[in-house]
């Protein structure tokens, strides 16, 4: 058997894939051929060393993006079964919008929708320069400021409402608010670590929107 054939067998031998008879044949050749003997030694060293290669650390941006995306997709929501949270977001339970709050949410949604479309259109144009990304994120940041103000107003009203309900119900509502505050914080942290990232900003706005919806539902619910 020529060296070329033997060397292919050596590769299989190193992986433990040869039968006894084949091993004997290859061993005999290797013992007589310096070149093939060297290949055997090198393949064995490479194979063993490949099992202990260094590992690398991803940058913090990866986890920031994951956190924001988890919150946005609503994957990491530890909602207990049959909770008020679930019922509040069921279609039959969401009350009619009070005119003032409804208008505010409607306007903010338009801003968010327009900003998202603007972001996607700028992305479709191809690679976006840093200054263009900063420009693209401004409408989202403006929307964030509007959401914060709306939430501040709703927050006060919802706290007053919660104080009027029975303790167990108040505890559930406060737990749900704490959960959504956690996700808002996650998104804020991610936005802080990746400023100018329109994707994370979008997730942050979505988190604000969820909070505003929940607060609005608490304020307007007749069943608490």
């Amino acid at each position: 058997m020529e060296c070329r054939d033997i060397q292919f067998r050596i590769s299989e031998w190193v992986d433990g894939e040869l039968k006894e008879a084949e091993i004997t044949e290859v061993e005999r050749h290797v013992s007589l051929c310096q070149s093939c003997s060297q290949i055997y030694d090198d393949f064995r060293i490479m194979r063993e060393s490949s099992l202990n290669l260094p590992v690398f650390e991803p940058s913090d941006v990866v986890w920031s993006n994951i956190r924001a995306q988890l919150a946005f997709e609503g994957i990491s929501e530890a909602k207990p079964e049959g909770s008020l949270w679930g019922r509040l977001f069921s279609r039959q339970f969401i009350p009619r919008l009070a005119p003032a709050y409804g208008t505010a949410i409607f306007l903010l949604t338009i801003i968010l929708f327009g900003s998202t479309i603007y972001i996607y259109k700028t992305r479709e144009l191809g690679p976006v320069a840093m200054t263009q990304e900063v420009e693209a994120i401004r409408p989202l940041q403006d929307a964030e400021q509007h959401y914060r103000k709306a939430i501040q107003a709703l927050d006060e009203a919802s706290r007053q409402k919660i104080q009027t309900v029975e303790p167990r119900m108040a505890e559930i509502l406060n737990d749900n608010l704490a959960t959504i505050d956690y996700y808002v914080q996650e998104c804020q942290d991610a936005a802080q670590k990746s400023p100018g990232n329109p994707l994370i900003q979008k997730y942050l706005l979505a988190a604000y929107q969820k909070k505003a919806e929940l607060l609005q539902s608490i304020v307007n619910s007749d069943v608490l």
């Binding site: 070329r4 299989e12 030694d41 060293i45 202990n52 290669l53 650390e57 994951i66 994957i75």
Partner: protein, 191 residues
Amino acid sequence: MTESDAISGCIKGDPKAFETLYSLHKRRIYSLCLRMVNKPAEAEDLAQEAFMQLFRKISTFRGEAAFSTWFHRLTVNIVLMHLRKKGLDEISLDQEPGEDEQEHPKKEYGGEDLHLKGSLDRIALGNAIADLPKGYRTILVLHDVEGYEHNEIAEMIGCSIGNSKSQLFKARLKLRSLLAKKTSKPEKKFT
């Protein structure tokens, strides 16, 4: 929090559980992606996608295989799909790179005295793997680094088992050549 607790927590949507699983697996998953695509930014995007797929699909994990095995397989599929979208030539194992004929004379693949001696520096090996052509790098990472068998690789990539073995052999010869070229004298020991 143990990995088992973290898995249960993720299924329930516990944010801390997600963070625990990420901390436990981020280096290996990112390193796998990096070795296969050889571009840090691209590898980070793929690692992010792998973790998002994990969190979306974790409820489907039945425990028949080890969790890390299941997750790594999921990651490999994501990377391979990404490479396919970039172009079939990225992971084609059927081509015969012309440069091979120059590297290895037909009669004797050993050629000149290119043998390595003694121990092999892990960093040098990692750098040499990064310098391999894409097809060779894919097969070598999957087999030698990640430990997949040829029948698994053949299924993942869509080639025959014989093809997988053949390409691995060529990848090893190429890697050996790259490692030997990093030293000025063929007899020099790697440290």
